[in-house]
Structures are given as C-alpha cells and as structure tokens.
Amino acid sequence: MIAVAYCVVIVFLGMIGYLVKFMVQDSQEIINNPANKRQELLAERIVRGDIVSSDGRVLATTETDQKGNETRVYPYKNVFCHVVGRVWNSKTGIELEQSFPLLTSHVNPLKQLSNQLQGQKNQGDIVVTTLNAKLQQIAYDALGNQKGAVVAIEPSTGKVLAMVSKPDYDPNTVRSEWDSLVADEAGNSALLNRATQGLYPPGSTFKILTAMEYMRENPSFDKYRYECSGSDTFGGNVIRCYNGEHHGTVDLKSSLAHSCNGSFAHIGVGLNRKSYRKLCEAFGFNSSLGVKFVSSRSRFVLDEKSDTAEAAQTAIGQGKTTITPLQNALISATIANDGVMMTPYLVDHTESVDGHVVKKYEPQEKRTVISRKRANQVTRMMRSVVSDGTAAALRNLPYPVAGKTGTAEIDSEGTSHAWFVGFAPAADPKIAVSVIVEGAGTGSQYAVPIAAKMLEEYLGN
C-alpha cells in the first residue's frame, strides 16, 4: 500500500517537474508560434520594441500619436523588408521570429507595475540584430533594379551581416499595396525572400563541392590533368566551355580558376555518387539548415540510378541541383572557417529599454564538415579564381580574396543567372558573401562587382 502511494506521489511530482522544465526551457520558443493568438493580448499592455542593426541603426520602431494610435515604422523602407519583415497581415522575418521578445518588457518590474497601475503601456524589449546597416545598404544599392539576392555571413560565428532580396516592397505602405503585391502581374514575387527561399541552379559555384569530392576520393589530386578542347561529350550530351574557350591542359586548380566545364564534367562522371551525395548533404543539402527564420531546403538529387549525362551536368552545377543564396554563402563560410559550419543567425541579443541584456544568442557550431587541411587546400584553389581566373576584378583589393563565379544557364537561349560566392581576407576570413543576379549574364561581369563593393565597405579598400 505504501509503495503504491509513493508511486502516485512520484507521478504527481514528475508532472510538476515537467511543467517547470517546460516553463524554463521550451516555453519561450513555443509561445512565439504564429498560431498563438495571445500575442494580441500582450500588445495591449506593451509597446512593440525596436529592431536595431549591429551598428546601432533603428530598423523598425513603433510610433505612438497623441491619441494613442500605434504605427510600426521602418526607417529604411524597402532595404530590410524581407529580413526584418513586417507585422501587418501575418508577421514575417525578425518581426515573426522575435515577436514575443518584442512584446515583452524587462525594465525594472516595479517601474513596469507602476506604469501598469497608471494605465500606461510598457516599452517592449529591443532586438539587436547581427545585420550591418551600412553593408546592407551597399548591397541593396549595388543590386540596383535587378532581381536577385545577396547574403553576407561572418564565417567564425554564423552571424548574418547582410541579407538583401529583390524585387522588394515598402513595409510602411504594404497595407495599401497589398493587393497588387499579391496579384503580382509583373511576376516579381516581391513578397518572397529570395535569399533564404529562392531555389536556383548553383551553376559553376557548385564546382567547389565537385572539386572537394574529387580530392576526397583521390589523395593524389595534384596529379590530375585534363585536356580541354572547348567541348566534350558525356553520355551523349555535349558539354561546352563558356564562350567556346579552349583551356588546354588543366590541373584541378586551374580547372576551378577558369571554370572549365569539360574538366569538371569529366570529374563528375567518375565520382562515387554515394560519397558525393554524402558530402553535399554534410554541407546542408536535402535537410533543413536549423535556422530560426524561414528557409527552403537546397536539393541535391543525383544518385546511383541517374545517368551519365546527369552526373556530368550535376558536377558543373547545371543538373537538378537547386540551392538557396543563403546555403551557397554558408558553403563558403564553412570553408573560410576551417571546415566548421556555424549555424547562421540574425539576432545577436535582446535588451531592455534601460539597457541590460535579456537574452544573448551565442554562435552555434553545426558540425565539422571537412578537415582544416582540406579547407585550406580548397581556399588556395579559390584564391586562384581571383588571382588568375574568372574573378580577377577582385585582385586589386589590398587583401587576398577567395571565391568562385558562376553562370547558371536557365534556358536554351543563353539566359543565365550570375553568381559569386567567396570570402576575405583569405588567410583570416571576416566575411563570406553570396551574390546572385537573376538572368543578368556571367558571374564575372554582374555578380563580382557587387561582391567587390561589399568587401570594400566591410574590409576597406
């Protein structure tokens, strides 16, 4: 009898223990769920807090007029529209991710109480992002009127420094423009954050992964040679080098530097598909990135059943592989960080209006994808892309840049997306970038200059 009684008491205590665990560990994340309608209740007591950039600029704030009507104001208008998001008509971006913290106040509880007693609202906490407002503005201006996306990450931490997507919209006036944004007669998809949700063929930027897989399977990759005559046939499918160039005898490094399609298609058909796939999946393909914001999964679909032609296409980034600009930036950032992938994040910390830190988000290591040695080898190869390859425009910067261009063909008429991924300074990387310009042309011509402006802003010229 006593034993049964003890069991029952233990079950009850376990229930209390679980409730406490839920409150301490899980509740903050769970109540931020958009399906939780109770956020509206908090908004009745708290003025939604500000969102600021890492360099102290206000990205979103709430203005209250004399009658007590609140308006959410975005001083940068379109520049941060996707990444910071909006509150009207279902929240997006950081407004969504941090909705509860913004509607929670951590000023002195006594002050809060006294405010409440006087019927005054308390000021919600401030969300300090990892975004650099100046860098964001440079990237935004550099992309100009073109469609595309730019992502910049700090390799050692995973902090997202900039995230631009175009076409865009003004979150201040989204309400009045909503109908036309949704109707989208121009096919702009301005509401979509291309940086995290746009799925593009990676083009030649994918050759970085193909090269890495080749190095893994062939320890003597230094001895690799290929004779490029401008075109080659794989499984009945002709692969041409850009502009019909003949690269002559190339090794692995110069294949990457000059982005030789024949050479990489040749490598691709000989790779162990299972191992190739495993490498890509380790870099983040076919699974969620584990980030707090909305993002699409990049897809790598080549397997043992795929034919030779598809293997060749995949190796040069033209097959069925699709990638988000964020994922592409993350691959570069991982190489830059000696092979250790850091989970990208947008919020550095939240603080109360009286200035004390409420919650600090620490950098999180996702996994070690490749060894430091391999990362350095790949970096050297990506250096040669800048020093004597397709990204030569970056050669004149006062610090070594490592990168890879890409020109992803999307139709038979030669329309292609311009890509650039890379990081700098190569020896001690502070920033990794990924740039895509839709339907613009070659990466060298259209994506590299945008990256150059960003590096100049962030690292100086």
Binding site: F12, L19, M23, D26, K37, L41, Q116
Partner: protein, 393 residues
C-alpha cells in the same frame, strides 16, 4: 461586457475618473501576486502542519488556512466583478460563501475527528474550480454551484448510512449489479460526445454514469477482495471487474476504462500484496492499449497530439498546443484573472481547466493546485492505513 467597458462604466458611475481608473488597475494587477502569495502560504501549511504535536497550534493553522481560502475567494470574485459588473457574480459569491461556511461547520460536526486538512483542501479546490468556471462561463458556474451544494449535503449523510448498514461489505453482489447496470444505461438513453457514448441527460443536466459507478465499483472490489480467501474467489471478482471495463470499452469511453482497470489492479495489489498480479496486470493493460490504438481513431489522434502537437496544430494537436500556449504565455505569475484567452482552449471549463488556471492565475498557482492534490492523496492514504477493517483499506 468586456474589461475596458466595465472600467469606463465604473468611472461614469462614480465620477472622479482618475482615481477610480487607477484603483481598478491596482486591484486587477496586484491581485494576481497577492493570490499566488496567499495560495503558496496555504500550500506550505498543508505540508508543515504535521511538524510537532502542539494541538492548539494545529487548530490555529487550520483556521488560518480557511481564512486564506476565503481571502483568495474574495479577491478573485472582486476582480471578476470589476471586470464585468455583473450582479450575478455577487450573488454567486454570497451563495458560495454560505456553502463554504456551512460545509466548514457541518462536516467536522458530522465526521468526528475528521482530517481538517482534507476538509480545507476540499473547500479550496472547490473554490478555485468555481472561480475559474465563473470566469469562463457564468451559466456553467450556476450549474456547478447547484451540484456542489447538493453533493455537500449528500456527503453529510454518508456516516449515517455507513452506521446504519454496518455490514457494508456484505453487499458485494448488489454493488456489482448496480454498477454494471448503471454503466449499461448509456446504451439505452446515452448520447455521444467527443467520440465516446458516455453521457446521460436528465432535463438540462448531463452526467456521466461512470463517475458515480466509480464509487460503487470501489465498494464492490473492496467487498469481494476483503473476503476473498481462495484463488477461485479472485478469478470471480476479476471477471466482474473486467465486465465493467469491457462495457466502458464498448462505449468507447477508454479514459474511464483505463481508470477502472488501474483502480482494480491497485485494490487487488493492496489486498493480496502479490506484486506479480500488479505486474501481470500492467503488462496486459499495455497490450490492450496497443490493440486500442489500432482499433480506435480517437486513440490514434491522442497519440499523434501527444507526440508532436505542432505538426498537427490545426487538427489533433490543437488542444494540446493551445494549452501549452496558455501556460507559456501566462508565465509564472499568470496574465491575471480575466486577462488571458482561456476560451481558446477547447474544453477549458472541464478537462483542461488546469491550463486556464495556469494561464490566468499563473504557473506557480497551478503547481500549488497539484501540491494540494498531493496533500489530499497523502491524507487519504493516511486515513486508509488507520482503518482497522480490511474493507475500508
């Protein structure tokens, strides 16, 4: 009438707008902290009153607990009234006070030497339940009031009945037949709710026969097992218990079936002290649970909601998710009575009332409720251990 409207009306009635507005928010805002503090003190007493042998001190603590209960009751009712300005709230409050005072005086009189802790806890839980139901739905609160009053009065006659029928344990077969009969009643006049056919309506009142049969069932099991000498007796009583469970399964009221099953196992174990029976019973129960999972979709839904409410948030997971939102958003100190959205939680006024309590009165308060329940249970066991006759233990 919502809160703002009530506050405005109050200002109109009493003039001097500013002070009244501040007063109103003082009561509503501060009350939640005060309530939690008072309830915490109450709960503390539940477990510390047994330290020492000073009888007078104990009596003082019991009286103190009652005062705490009445204070919490008053504050909650005041907040409910200020938020709605319904006269019904005042009437209900006064009726509740009459009921609690009556029960508090009459029970110790009828039950000589009863545990004051159990009495105080009974009143406290009754009060918390009433306040919360009143906040959710006044109509249900009136019904709850009637039922509470009726059962409180009925409870006073139990010692008399036991004394009159001092051979309570000879009615074994009577209990068995009455219990099975009542359970089977729903096949004739029952109605289906939430996937199970287990309700009977009488006028505007709806009740679940299984709630009453629970008591008769325990009497039946106790009566038989108290006399059981041979293995044959055990088989017989187990078969009758199984019949109860089977009827409930046929009604698809699996929750009640589980309670009846576990109750029987525990009574069986307590009376025979054979651990093997308990273990075998639990093994069979687990097997039956697997079968039930494959047989009934509403069981599958429960499992889906339990494993991951988030991926099925619009369907099976809705209730669990809303309940977690309620706890999480309310936080340790709650949103304050009338300040949350407990109406978003399906069945908040009965099965999920603890979520509503957690949301508005705070997780600390909800934990105190569980601790009070533990206190009740410990006292029940304590009483049973003191019983000399096998039937009562």
């Amino acid at each position: 009438m919502d809160k703002q409207e009530a506050a405005r009306k109050l200002q109109e009635l009493l003039g001097n707008s500013n002070t009244i507005g501040v007063m109103h928010s003082v009561v509503v805002e501060l009350s939640k902290y005060i309530i939690i503090f008072l309830f915490a003190v109450y709960t503390w007493h539940c477990f510390t009153v047994f330290i020492g042998r000073d009888k007078e001190r104990k009596e003082r603590v019991y009286r103190h607990q009652l005062k705490l209960m009445f204070t919490i009751h008053f504050i909650c009712s005041l907040v409910l009234f200020l938020n709605s300005l319904h006269v019904q709230i005042i009437i209900l409050y006064l009726l509740q006070v009459v009921l609690f005072v009556f029960a508090g005086k009459a029970y110790p009189y009828v039950y000589e030497g009863m545990s004051k802790i159990v009495l105080n806890n009974m009143l406290m839980l009754l009060m918390v339940g009433m306040v919360m139901i009143e906040r959710l739905d006044t109509e249900s609160a009136i019904r709850q009031m009637i039922f509470a009053a009726a059962t409180c009065v009925a409870g006073l006659f139990i010692p008399y009945i036991i004394e009159k029928f001092s051979y309570f344990d000879i009615f074994g077969w009577f209990y068995a037949i009455a219990g099975l009969g009542l359970l089977a009643l729903v096949f004739v006049i029952g109605e289906e709710r939430y996937g199970a056919k287990n309700w009977v309506s009488i006028g505007s009142f709806a009740l679940q026969p299984s709630e009453f049969v629970k008591i008769i069932y325990v009497f039946f099991a106790a009566a038989f097992l108290a006399k059981a000498e041979r293995f044959k007796d055990l088989v017989l009583v187990t078969a009758v218990a199984a019949a109860h469970v089977l009827i409930l399964v046929l009604e698809k009221d699996l929750g009640a079936a589980l309670i009846f099953y576990i109750t029987y196992l525990v009574i069986l174990y307590v009376s025979t002290e054979r651990l093997s029976y308990l273990l075998a019973g639990l093994a069979c129960g687990s097997g039956a649970a697997v079968v039930a999972y494959h047989l009934f979709t509403h069981v599958q839904n429960r499992v889906i909601a339990w494993r991951d409410p988030w991926s099925t948030i619009a369907n099976q997971g809705y209730q669990v998710a809303q309940s977690l939102f309620a706890f999480g958003t309310g936080g340790w100190f709650g949103m304050g009575l009338g300040e949350g959205m407990p109406d978003k939680i399906p069945v908040a006024s009965s099965d999920f009332i603890i979520s509503a309590i957690g949301e508005e009165l705070g997780v600390f308060f909800a934990i105190c409720v569980v601790l009070v329940e533990i206190s009740c249970f410990v006292m029940f066991v304590n009483i049973a251990l003191k019983m000399s006759r096998r039937f009562y233990s």
